[in-house]
Symmetry: C2
Subunit: 279 residues, 2 copies
């Protein structure tokens, strides 16, 4: 496994990689969710490139950039074990040098859900994803379904800007009790960790209601709200029952939907989602 930091090094090593090349973009502090992306990339591509970059432009001023967990030696050990071929770890200085001034913005689908609560977040995501695609020039790029809106935004960028690659989405990987894996789970105290399963419980309660015949979008949102409100350590930020394609909130009877939510457990903000579909 090679590790490179500068763009010329990356381009030189990239030029020698057998294609197709699969890119797994990460912010490091890897968990099983990331590793499932690496494994899918290994299965589908001749070469696997993993980027590790905690992207400052997708954090808001009051968010957790400085506190975001990092453990590079452990990350590199995991990636070596999984058989990644190349790890790109650019510095912030390289990615955003003085005078940096170009941004990629996606208009409609970034206005809702995470975008509505995290101003500028998706501008940072869209911009860094465009930079990573241009730097690595993969044939495929791998993202987790856990960040469902991010997946929708990345798909939109690829289609709109004609990036010559395919997006592959891997299912959310969960802990034994159902909590979606996230680097931010490291922030949780033991008590909060126990409470955090409430997101998955709420999503499953709505899914069960749907499967039992209640297909009303408003009802499904209310089911999730009620479960979250039943957990004293949880503070709801939003629940959504939306069109999976454009993330527009649905009303009335639904046959297919993305159920999603953001919930604060103590000071830690967690998100999760589940796709539901009539058989």
């Amino acid at each position: 496994m090679r590790t490179v930091s500068t763009l010329p090094e990356l381009r030189a090593v990239r030029a020698g990689l057998p294609e197709p090349v699969g890119l797994v973009p990460t912010m490091g502090f890897l968990h099983e969710g990331h590793l499932s992306l690496v494994r899918m990339a290994r299965a589908q591509c001749a070469s696997v490139v993993v980027s590790i970059f905690v992207n400052p432009t997708q954090f808001g001023p009051s968010e957790d950039l400085a506190a975001y967990p990092r453990d590079l030696p452990r990350d590199l050990g995991l990636l070596e074990s999984e058989g990644a071929h190349l790890v790109w770890m650019p510095s912030t200085q390289l990615m955003y040098p003085p005078g940096y001034q170009t941004w990629v913005t996606v208009e409609d689908i970034t206005q809702r859900l995470e975008g509505a609560m995290r101003s500028g977040h998706f501008r940072g995501v869209a911009t860094v994803v465009a930079k990573l695609f241009n730097a690595v020039q993969p044939q495929k790029a791998y993202f987790g379904q856990k960040d469902a809106q991010q997946v929708a935004v990345v798909r939109q960028i690829v289609a709109d800007l004609n990036f010559p690659l395919e997006i592959e989405v891997c299912p959310t990987v969960r802990e034994a009790d159902g909590l979606a894996m996230s680097s931010r789970n490291a922030y949780l105290s033991p008590e909060e960790r126990r409470a955090a399963v409430v997101l998955f419980r709420a999503l499953n309660a709505a899914k069960a209601a749907f499967e039992a015949g209640d297909g009303d979008a408003g009802h499904l949102r209310q089911v999730m709200v009620d479960v979250i409100n039943g957990e004293p350590l949880a503070r709801l930020q939003y629940v959504s029952c939306a069109d999976p394609a454009n993330l527009e909130e649905l009303e009335g009877p639904v046959t297919q939907a993305l159920l999603s939510m953001a919930v604060k457990i103590g000071k830690t903000r967690l998100i999760d989602n589940l796709l539901i579909e009539a058989l």
Copy 2:
């Protein structure tokens, strides 16, 4: 010479082109300026791709999109003669399908000069250039010095977004009397055509003053203003004596500058520029 319209066709033909591939992006109605770009690309690259696309998103609502001159059969004949290998002519529908919502914006250097007068122009330019780069995947892309600010914007995009290609800039090609070649020259009446040389005269007057020892940015701007105001058919939009790198307006003594201007001759808006540098 192959001509293609759809993205799958483009990708298929592109995959078989010998590299390096040079891209010459145009809006058609080709003149000697465009052809000089094709010739430079031929000299430097194994394959030359020319795109012809009148990009609606870089025209303002009151600008000349509908009237913009077109002559595709003539353009294709010229490109065939020049030895271009592939012409890509995407439809507006292909480039901006329903639901299109992704934009590339460059902040600082688009605020001045053309950007200040043509709101949204450089967002359209930056976006279509990113799309063309991703669609064609050239190793080099060719632009004319006549659109000096466009060159600065494209260079910024390539650096900021890590596009894996080099920008090549060709000198402005001029008519015998010095008028910079432009597809928009076709709008000029014979009388306006004679008056239009005033831009080049004004630039040269400032250059002569500079070479005669007057290096004050304000003086040089005034020299240009005076020449333009001496032409009854001309209406000045701006003159500039700016830092060539970031296009910031200079004050006091200068050793290197981009002299530029926009002037309306009747209803036709023309731009031109000249680089000056102390020996």
